[in-house]
C-alpha cells in the first residue's frame, strides 16, 4: 500500500512527485507512456508565463505567479534549461491598447514583478524585427523560456533519486475505492493500492476521474500547431512575442527557444481526441500568416519541424484542483499557464494531502540537485579534460547540436533512462537540430541497441510500437 499514487508523469505529475519526495512517504507514479513528458508537456510553447493573463482571484493567477518564481529557483537547483527573457504583448490598435492596459492591471493585482507598458518606440527599440504597425506593448521581464520536457524529467528524476517509484507503461484501466479507505488501481502493468491518489492525467484526467468518482468536469482537448525554425532564425526576436489574447487562448507567439531555435505558434482547435497531435496544412498556414503580423520577416524556409500538442482545456474556467472524493485529488484541466504553475500546483496538492490526513514529515536527506554534462557548452579545457577521462565524450554523434556519445551513454545510466531515439533526443538534444536526426539517427539506434543489448529491430523511435526497422536485409549487412 503506497501512501500516494500519482497518475500521469507529465509536468504536473512530475512536479507532484518531486514535491512529495521531500517527505517520508511511499509514493509511486503510474505513467501510461514509455517515458515521462509524453503528452502535452512535450509539445507546447515552452514558456514560463509571467502571470498577467489570468483574472485576479483565480487559482490560475495565484499559482502562475508563484510557479514562475519557483521555476527560476528549480532551474538553478536541477539544471533545467531556463532563461527569464521577458515577454511582450503587442498592441496593434485602440482595442489592443485597452487589452494590454487591462492585462497590466491584472499583472499588478496578481503580483507580477516589474511589469510595465511600453510605447511603440520603446517596443521597437527592444525588438527591431517587429512589425512597424505596433502601437505599444506590455512588457513583463519575469516571463521565461524553458525546456519543458527536461523540466519534467529533472523533477521526475529527482523524485526517483529520493525514493519515488516510477512505473512506465502503466495505463490505469480501473480505480476502485477500498472499503477500509484508500484506492485500488488496475493498470496494464499490474494492480497498485494507495491511501491517496493524485490524478495528473492531463488530457485524459476526466477519464481517470470518472474511473473513481462520478463525472463532474469534461476535458475538451484543444490542439495547437507549431513551427520550429533553425537556429539561423533563433535571434529574430529576443523576447517572447505575444499578440493580444482572445477567447481561445493566448494567440500565436513568436519566441526564441531555450535551445536557440525560433518557435512560432500555436493555433487553437478542438479535436475531440486528446492524442490527436497531427498537423494540418490549414492550421500551419494560419500560424504562419498570424505570426507575420507580429514579425513580418520570419524566414519560414528555415523551418526544421512542425509539431502539434493538445491542451487539457476543461469545461471549467479555472484549473480544477480539488479533492473529488476522500483522498482522490484532481489536478485537472491544467491548460496554459499549467507549465508555469506546475511547481505551485504540486505544493497545493501536497497541502491537500496533508489536510486529508496524510502526514507530511520532511526527509532528513533530500537530494535537491541534479547536473548533467552539456558538452557543447564547455570550454575547450573542460572538453579536453572530459575526453581524457572518458573518450566517448570525444565522439560527436549529433553534428547539428554537437552531442557526444558520452552524453548519450550517461543518459542511459540516469534514474529514468531513455527507451527510444526520441527519449535520447529529449535528454541530450541529439536529433533536435537542422537535420532532424538524419545523420545521427542510425548512430543513436546503434548505441541503444548496444547498451540495451537488444537487436536494432527492437529499437523504438518513440512510444511502444514505433519500431524503426522492420527486419534484416537479405544479406543482413554481412559481406
Amino acid at each position: 500500500m503506497y501512501d500516494c499514487i500519482i497518475i500521469g508523469c507529465g509536468i504536473i505529475g512530475a512536479a507532484a512527485a518531486y514535491e512529495l519526495s521531500k517527505y517520508r512517504l511511499n509514493v509511486a507514479v503510474l505513467e501510461k507512456g514509455n517515458d515521462v513528458a509524453m503528452g502535452t508537456t512535450r509539445a507546447n510553447s515552452a514558456i514560463i508565463h509571467a502571470g498577467y493573463d489570468p483574472e485576479p482571484g483565480t487559482v490560475m493567477a495565484r499559482l502562475n505567479v508563484e510557479g514562475n518564481r519557483l521555476a527560476a529557483e528549480l532551474a538553478g537547483k536541477l539544471d533545467i534549461p531556463y532563461k527569464a527573457v521577458g515577454s511582450l504583448v503587442l498592441a496593434f490598435d485602440e482595442t489592443d491598447l485597452g487589452t494590454i492596459q487591462h492585462l497590466y492591471e491584472n499583472g499588478v493585482a496578481n503580483g507580477v514583478p516589474d511589469i510595465r507598458l511600453l510605447s511603440a518606440e520603446e517596443t521597437l527599440a527592444m525588438e527591431p524585427h517587429l512589425s512597424r504597425e505596433v502601437k505599444g506593448a506590455l512588457y513583463a521581464p519575469s516571463a521565461g523560456i524553458v525546456s519543458p520536457w527536461e523540466y519534467a524529467l529533472a523533477l521526475a528524476e529527482t523524485a526517483v533519486r529520493n525514493g519515488v517509484e516510477l512505473h512506465l507503461d502503466s495505463d490505469v484501466t480501473a480505480i476502485e475505492a477500498l472499503p477500509e479507505g484508500g484506492w485500488r488501481l488496475a493498470t496494464s502493468s499490474g494492480v497498485y493500492e494507495a491511501k491517496a491518489v493524485i490524478n495528473a492525467a492531463g488530457v485524459h484526467s476526466d477519464a481517470v476521474h470518472n474511473l473513481a468518482v462520478k463525472p463532474d468536469f469534461k476535458i475538451i482537448p484543444n490542439r495547437g500547431e507549431y513551427y520550429l525554425l533553425d537556429k539561423s532564425e533563433g535571434t529574430r526576436v529576443s523576447h517572447v512575442i505575444f499578440q493580444c489574447p482572445s477567447a481561445v487562448g493566448k494567440g500565436v507567439l513568436v519566441s526564441p527557444t531555450i535551445h536557440g531555435n525560433l518557435i512560432v505558434g500555436p493555433n487553437a482547435e478542438d479535436v475531440g481526441d486528446g492524442d490527436n497531435t497531427a498537423c494540418t496544412a490549414s492550421g500551419l498556414e494560419f500560424v504562419m500568416n498570424t505570426a507575420r503580423r507580429s514579425v513580418p520577416d520570419i524566414n519560414f524556409r528555415d523551418s526544421i519541424r512542425n509539431f502539434a500538442g493538445v491542451r487539457a482545456v476543461s469545461d471549467q474556467p479555472d484549473f480544477i484542483i480539488q479533492e473529488a472524493a476522500p483522498r482522490f485529488i484532481d489536478l485537472a484541466g491544467i491548460k496554459s499557464p499549467g507549465l508555469s504553475a506546475a511547481p505551485a500546483i504540486a505544493i497545493e496538492a501536497a497541502g491537500m494531502l496533508e489536510k486529508s490526513g496524510i502526514a507530511l514529515e520532511k526527509k532528513d536527506s533530500f537530494i535537491d540537485e541534479r547536473r548533467r554534462v552539456r558538452f557543447s557548452e564547455l570550454t575547450p579545457e573542460e572538453k579536453n579534460e572530459l575526453i581524457k577521462e572518458n573518450p566517448l565524450y570525444g565522439r560527436v554523434i549529433c553534428r547539428c547540436e554537437t552531442v557526444t556519445e558520452g552524453e548519450i551513454v550517461a543518459a542511459l545510466h540516469t534514474p529514468i533512462p531513455p527507451r527510444s531515439v526520441d527519449g535520447v533526443k529529449r535528454r541530450v538534444n541529439a536529433g533536435m537540430g537542422r537535420c532532424q536526426g538524419g545523420f545521427c539517427g542510425p548512430r543513436v539506434v546503434e548505441i541503444l541497441s548496444r547498451e540495451g543489448k537488444v537487436p536494432p529491430t527492437e529499437v523504438l523511435q518513440d512510444g511502444v510500437g514505433t519500431n524503426l526497422l522492420t527486419g534484416e536485409t537479405k544479406m543482413g549487412g554481412r559481406e
Partner: protein
C-alpha cells in the same frame, strides 16, 4: 609553436580526398584531412549501386569503389588522415593563419594551424519539417539517405510498403534498392511537373520496376499512430497547392523523403565567409576560393552536384589553388568579374571570376536551370550587353548540372560583370 599545416581539408568525402591528392600533386606536403566518420569516403560508402566514374574514369564503378580509388591515392601521398574527428569551428589567427578547432576521441579538443583550408563537408537532406508535410508524426518517415544507410551500411530494412516523396536521385536509387530487397514501392510522388533526378535513374530505378511516378503530386496527409499506416496524395495546381477531389490513398508503412539537399555550411557561416542564398553555399572565385583568402570550398558544400565525377574535377581545382596559394602567394583579388544569372538560370559556380588568376585558357562554369528546356541556347553576355559566348543545348533539366567553358580572351573584355542566361531556340526565331 605547434605545427602549421600547409593545408587542412575539412571532410574526407570525394571532394576532400580529390582536393588533398591534387594539392599534393601540386607540391604541398603537410596536408591533413579531417573526417568525422570512422572511415574516409563520405556518402559514397553507402552508395553501393554502380554508375559512378563514367566521366572521370571512363568506367562504371560503385560508390565505395570510386571512393576507394581516391583513398588509395591519398595513401600514396604524405597527407595525414584524422578520422573520427569533428571540426567545430574555423577561425583566423594572427597573420592570416587558419585555426581549425576540432574534437575527437583520440586527441581530444585541439586547435590546429594551417596556411590554407579546403571546406568539403558535403550536404545534408531536407527533412519533413523543411517542407511542412501535414499529418501525424508516426515512425516510418525517413530521409532517403538515412534509409540508404540503414540498408547498405547496417543491413536493416526500414519498411515493407513504401511511398517516396520527391524524385531526387537518392529517392530513385532507394526505390530500386527497396524493391530488390523485397519491399513494395507503391509510388514516387513529385510536386514539380518534372523529376528532380537524372533521367537514367527514372528509367533504371522506376520504369524498369513498374513503379509509378506521379508528377505534380504531393502528400497531403500522413496517418498512423505508432507507425505510418497510410498516406494521402493529391495532385497540385501550378502554384503547387493541392487540388481538392484528386486525393489517392496508399496503404504503406514507410515514407522516404528525397526532397532536396542542403549544403552543410555551418562552419562556413561561422567563419564569416560570404554565402550565396541561391546555392546555400559559399560565394566562390574561379579557383574555388571563398571570400576569406586561403579558404577554399568544393563539392556539395558549394552547390549540389548531380555526378561525383564533377565533384572530383571541381575539388582538384580547389586543391591546386590551395597549393598555389601556399607556394606562390595569395591571388590578386582585384578586377573580379561578377557572374549574374538570367532566363531561368538558378545560380552559377563560380560567382566571381578573376581573369588574371585563371591558370588556363578557359574558365569552367557550372549552373542549373530552374525548368525544363528543349532545343535551346546558353548565352553569356558582357556588361555592355554584347554576347561573348553561346552554347547550344538539345535539352536541359533542373536535375542535371550544366557545364560551360568560358574563353579567357572573351572574359578579358567583358567588363565588371557577365550574365549567364538560357533561352529556348523557338523563342529566338520569332
Amino acid at each position: 609553436m605547434m605545427k602549421e599545416y600547409q593545408l587542412i581539408v575539412v571532410g574526407g568525402g570525394p571532394a576532400g580526398l580529390a582536393a588533398a591528392c591534387k594539392a599534393y600533386e601540386s607540391g604541398l606536403r603537410d596536408i591533413l584531412i579531417i573526417e568525422r566518420d570512422k572511415e574516409a569516403g563520405g556518402i559514397l560508402n553507402q552508395c553501393i549501386h554502380n554508375g559512378f566514374g563514367l566521366h572521370y574514369f571512363k568506367e562504371e564503378l560503385t560508390g565505395p569503389e570510386y571512393a576507394g580509388r581516391f583513398i588509395d591515392s591519398v595513401r600514396e601521398t604524405s597527407a595525414e588522415v584524422l578520422l573520427d574527428t569533428m571540426v567545430l569551428q574555423v577561425t583566423e589567427g594572427d597573420g592570416g593563419v587558419k585555426l581549425v578547432h576540432c574534437v575527437g576521441a583520440k586527441d581530444g579538443y585541439q586547435i590546429l594551424r594551417a596556411k590554407t583550408v579546403v571546406l568539403s563537408m558535403g550536404c545534408r537532406e531536407r527533412t519533413r519539417g523543411a517542407i511542412g508535410i501535414p499529418g501525424a508524426r508516426p515512425a516510418g518517415v525517413f530521409t532517403a539517405g538515412a534509409a540508404q544507410r540503414y540498408l547498405n551500411m547496417e543491413g536493416y530494412m526500414v519498411g515493407r510498403r513504401v511511398v517516396i516523396l520527391g524524385s531526387g536521385d537518392i529517392g530513385l536509387i532507394m526505390a530500386r534498392r527497396m524493391t530488390l530487397e523485397g519491399a513494395k514501392v507503391l509510388a514516387c510522388v513529385e510536386v514539380m511537373p518534372y523529376s528532380g533526378g537524372l533521367t537514367r535513374n527514372i528509367v533504371q530505378c522506376l520504369e524498369d520496376y513498374g513503379i509509378p511516378l506521379y508528377l505534380s503530386h504531393t502528400i497531403v496527409d500522413v496517418v498512423g499512430r505508432e507507425r505510418v499506416e497510410r498516406v494521402v496524395v493529391a495532385k497540385v495546381d501550378e502554384n503547387r497547392r493541392p487540388i481538392p477531389g484528386t486525393e489517392m490513398t496508399f496503404d504503406c508503412d514507410t515514407i522516404l523523403l528525397s526532397v532536396g539537399l542542403i549544403p552543410e555550411n555551418e562552419l562556413t557561416r561561422g567563419a564569416g565567409i560570404t554565402m550565396d542564398p541561391r546555392t546555400n553555399g559559399a560565394v566562390v572565385y574561379e579557383n574555388m576560393e571563398t571570400s576569406l583568402p586561403g579558404v577554399f570550398a568544393c563539392g556539395n558544400v558549394v552547390h549540389v552536384h548531380d555526378l561525383v565525377d564533377f565533384v572530383t574535377q571541381e575539388s582538384q581545382r580547389a586543391g591546386a589553388a590551395a597549393a598555389r596559394h601556399v607556394l606562390e602567394g595569395a591571388a590578386d583579388a582585384e578586377g573580379a568579374i561578377s557572374v549574374e544569372t538570367g532566363g531561368a538560370v538558378g545560380y552559377t559556380v563560380p560567382q566571381k571570376i578573376r581573369v588574371g588568376n585563371l591558370p588556363g585558357k578557359t574558365c569552367d562554369l557550372f549552373f542549373r536551370v530552374r525548368r525544363i528546356f528543349g532545343d535551346s541556347v546558353i548565352r553569356v553576355t558582357a556588361e555592355n550587353g554584347e554576347v561573348i559566348a553561346q552554347y547550344p543545348r538539345e535539352h536541359m533539366a533542373p536535375g542535371e548540372m550544366e557545364h560551360i567553358m568560358l574563353p579567357k580572351v572573351r572574359l578579358e573584355k567583358a567588363g565588371g560583370k557577365i550574365t549567364v542566361s538560357a533561352e529556348e531556340k523557338e523563342e529566338n526565331a520569332q
